[in-house]
Structures are given as structure tokens and as C-alpha cells.
Symmetry: C2
Subunit: 339 residues, 2 copies
Amino acid sequence: MDLLDAAADQVTREAVEAAFTPRETATLLKPVDSANYTDFYASIHHATRVGRLFRPENPLLPNYMYVPIGYHCRASSIVVSGTSIRRPSGQTKPVAGGIPAFGPTRFLDYEVEVGMYVATANPLGEPVPIRNAGSHIFGLSLLNDWSARDMQVWENQPLGPFLAKSFATSVSPWVVPMAALAPFRVPAKLRPSDDPSPLEYLFDATDQYTGAIDLTVEAWLLTPSMREADQAPHRLSQANLRDLWWTPAQLIAHHTSNGCNLLPGDLVATGTVSGPADESAGCLLELTAGGKQPIELPNGETRSYLEDGDEVILRGFCRRQGFPGISLGECRGLVLPAS
Amino acid sequence: MDLLDAAADQVTREAVEAAFTPRETATLLKPVDSANYTDFYASIHHATRVGRLFRPENPLLPNYMYVPIGYHCRASSIVVSGTSIRRPSGQTKPVAGGIPAFGPTRFLDYEVEVGMYVATANPLGEPVPIRNAGSHIFGLSLLNDWSARDMQVWENQPLGPFLAKSFATSVSPWVVPMAALAPFRVPAKLRPSDDPSPLEYLFDATDQYTGAIDLTVEAWLLTPSMREADQAPHRLSQANLRDLWWTPAQLIAHHTSNGCNLLPGDLVATGTVSGPADESAGCLLELTAGGKQPIELPNGETRSYLEDGDEVILRGFCRRQGFPGISLGECRGLVLPAS
């Protein structure tokens, strides 16, 4: 960094600066070609709001507070921010007595997430203890787990989401190293005293004190009408990673607790980052109560789910008095009509 | 092949044979380093028997006959036949009022499966039509989808199996090309007239006539006592790939129907291959009715689930009058105690 600062002599600075490209003119590529991609479900607020849609009387499943719920996702369809997203087709649930329809999803959604890139491999059969687990993460980027809700609800049982997710996942084009996030570490989410403590393999005192991250994530929407009228994107939600039920280290410790090997570059995502407030809900499924309560945009348009031409923009940043801010940049994707 | 046949002159044959290693003395490696691994659930007999354990009155879910149910699995923990399998630890469901236990699985199981390796990529956003889908498969191997049933039943909702499967998957060390299986192609499973036909995107007349494969798969068990007494392995089950509800081409067409891109070398497995008869059930979960009806072995031992030192041996072969037989070889794995 010394080569760029004001104290460097002018000849050095000019030589170094010539080697850089302004970000606006650069083509940003996918930062990592991840061999494996896992998605967790670490926001209890997301799990509760989604659960309420299907089980109003009992939204949170009995395993949630004990098990960092996660599943394997599709690594091949990870794309970099700016890649347009083709509306997928798939089967949807039949109306009573009929057969399922096959066609473009009508309930296309985004999910605001943060992706963690693995730095250090663990050999197959050797779990990473919780006290070391944080050091296996290299850094973070934004992630949009595009979801076709009508396909998801029909295919989901008994093995979980499959084609409702695997058509595309967007990631932001740079990775913020964990070292840069050190000033923004905060205690793990405080659990209400009635709620269970983490099991021993997920409990580490240091992780409880400093394992979470004070990182704000936002979702913004730019519709074709807004774009034509040269209006700015509209913010749909703002939430904070510190509100997750699990810390990053707990997710790594759990993932490897059965001996599963993580490889350098593997992507491990948080799941939708939603907070307790309604305006902190990180997907349209939550914001519109399953499409039943469309949101109204400042220009009078409404949305239940995403329409063709809509662009979703995720942003993420850390702010703390006395420290330089950190930006995770943006993760953008524009919805193309079904082919 | 001419170089090896009886008509080749002796000098040629000796020169060529010197370049070969007898199979017994060779170290066989993982045939493909798959970037992505998907597992289907294509045996309606498996789905029905497993469903009956949890929902006796309604074993088959409403989507089963329409949707080739599948999920993403963990590619990093695929190992070659002969690799020993460490018994994994994980969370299991608490008894009423208690907290979950964490420890070695007590319900370790195998699953007899066949894996298909992808030959030809399809670009992201471009589904493979059913009429071309078969040509995207290079060949087949045996696959053992090791499963920790007590972990699975606790973690499974709402996102499907995760750590109950990701600790290890075994594959046999060679791939039989689809071209070699041409004499063994048979019609797709005949569906009872009350059952729905495949949706249009999964229906191709040629595939219906010749899309299935007459391939026998077997599971054999060798316990430590049997090994010490120099006894042969005991056959636990025998089933046939032709009894699957979906053809290989239908699995590929469905997988890509949302635009998901398959890469060369990707592994797409059938799910447990079970047939209609009780002795054709391809895992202990089925054979022992969830552990409640232990099986008896010829030496008087019983098994509900796998014990340390047990070795599971999968075999697969095609036989047809007038054609040379084809062997998929073996897929072996010995269970090591938890670390």
C-alpha cells in the first residue's frame, strides 16, 4: 500500500498507477471458481417468517435452534454480478384434480446472502474444531440465491430444494478478507434465556464474544419503468449479519463435524439474511407474505415477485466510528424473459 | 482391440501386453474428479418403502410420479472403491424433553446406486431436450451413498439431507461407456394405466422404447466374523436398473430443464436402486424396516445397521443371451470406528 500513498515519490506513483484500471472500466470476473457450494439457513428471522407461511401455529421446526440447517447447492451455475438471469421454467403444483404445469416460473425471487470462501482445506474424516473454524474462512462476498418459489414448493419434499435454485446464483466480484473485517467483529447473537445454548461442538467462548460480524446488507430494486424514468433503485430491505443465529465459525464447525472435507475456494453461504423488523426481510417471499401482500414501490408500481426486466442489486458494508468503512460492493442481476 | 486378439502376431502381442498391469496388482483410482454431484430418487419401490416407514397410510408423496426428485450432494467427499469409511458423528433427535445427542451415528447404512458421468456440457440457460439427453451421458459406475439415518431424520427438514450423506460417497473405479451397454437397452418401466404419463418435456418415444437399462445391481455384506472364518460375503439384495421410475435421459432432461448447466465429468446418480420384491431393497433402512426387523446372516449374526468392521460390496452386471456380459466391477467400503 505504501506504493500508492501520498508519501511515495511521484515517479513511483505514476508507474504503479499505470498498472491499475479504474473499476468503472474494468470487466470484473467471478472471484473464485468454487468446487463446492453449500447454503445455510442461519437467520432465525427468515426461518420463522417463512415457516409462518406454511405452519402459522408452529413456524420454527424443532431442530432449528440446535442444528445449523444447510444443504448442498449447485456450484456450476454460480455467476458474477452483472450477469443477467434467465427466468427458469419448471413444474408447478397442479390445481386439485389436474396435472402439474410446466412453464416459466411466476414466483421468481431473490435472497440477500453473504458467501464465505474457504481458505484452508480439512482432510476427509477430520472435523475442524470450533476454536479453529474461523481461521478456515478467507473472506466474504455478497450472494444472491435466486429462487423460483412455485417450483420450490412442488419439488421440495422429501429431499429439499433442487431446480428451484440451481438455475443461477450471483456473487459479487471481489472478496473482502476476514482480516479487513476484524474491527467489525461483535458478540454472537444473544439468545433469549429460554432458548438452548449451542451444543459443545458449536460452543467456543472466544467465538461467542467476537464471532459475529456487524455487516449491513441491503436489497435494492430497479424496475424497467424506474430505469426509463431515470429513477434511482428503491431499497427493499436492510438487515445485519450480526442477527444470524449462528456465527461463521459455527457454520464451518458444523459442516465438517461429520468429517466432510472443505476445499480451498469452496463457497459456504449464510442463507437469507433477514432481521427482526419487517423491513429487514431479505426476500420477496417474506416481504410479500408469499405473494399475498404485494409491496408498493415509490412510483406506484407493485410487486409480488420479480418481473422481467427487474434488476436486483445487493449491497453490503461495514461502518464503525474511528475505522475506515469497508464495502462488499454490489451484486447485481437483471431478469431476462424465459427463453 | 485387434492388437490383443489371437490373430495379432506374437511380437505385437508381447509388446502390447507388457504395457498392461493385471487388475489384481493395480491401484485403481477414482475414475473422474467430478465437479458437481447430484443424486436422484428414481426408484419408486425405494420411495414407497421408505415413505411407508414415516407415512404408512400415504407412503408416496403427491409429486413423486411427476417430478424426478433429486438433490445436490457433496462432490468433495467422493472416494474410490476400497477406501475405508470412517463412521461419522453428528446430532441426533432428542428424546422427549431432552436436548439432541452429538456422537457417532448408530444407524449407518449403505445405498446401492448407479452413477452416470456426464460427457457433454450444456451452456447455462439452455436445457437439454429429452430426445438428446441420453447422448449427454458418457457411462456408468456403481455408487454407494453412505447414509447416517439417525442424523438424517433429525436434520432433514426443511432443506433435505446434508451431513447424513456428505461424509463419504464411494464409486467403483471404472466407467462402462453407454456404447457398451447398447445391447442391454430395454423399454422404460411400464406404468400402471392409472398412473400418470411423463409430462411432455420428459417424454420421448424412442426413450420410452429403449431408454432403460437391463442392469443387475447387488449388495453384499462381509462382517468381521465372516472374514475371520474365511466365509464368503452374503448377498443382501439384488435389483435391476430397469425398474426405475425414470430413464437416465429423463433424469438429464429434468436436471437441465431449468437451464442448469452440467459440466463434463459431473456425476448424476440414480438414488437407491430397489425393486418390487422385499429381497430387492437396496439399503438397510428398507431391509430392516428402519432397524425394527434386523436381518439374520447365514452365520447367525444379525444386523439392523452397519457395525464397525463391516464391509459393503456392491456389484453390477449385464447379461443377455448371445452377447458378451458386461461387469461394472465392484464398489467396496469397510466401516472404520468413529475417531
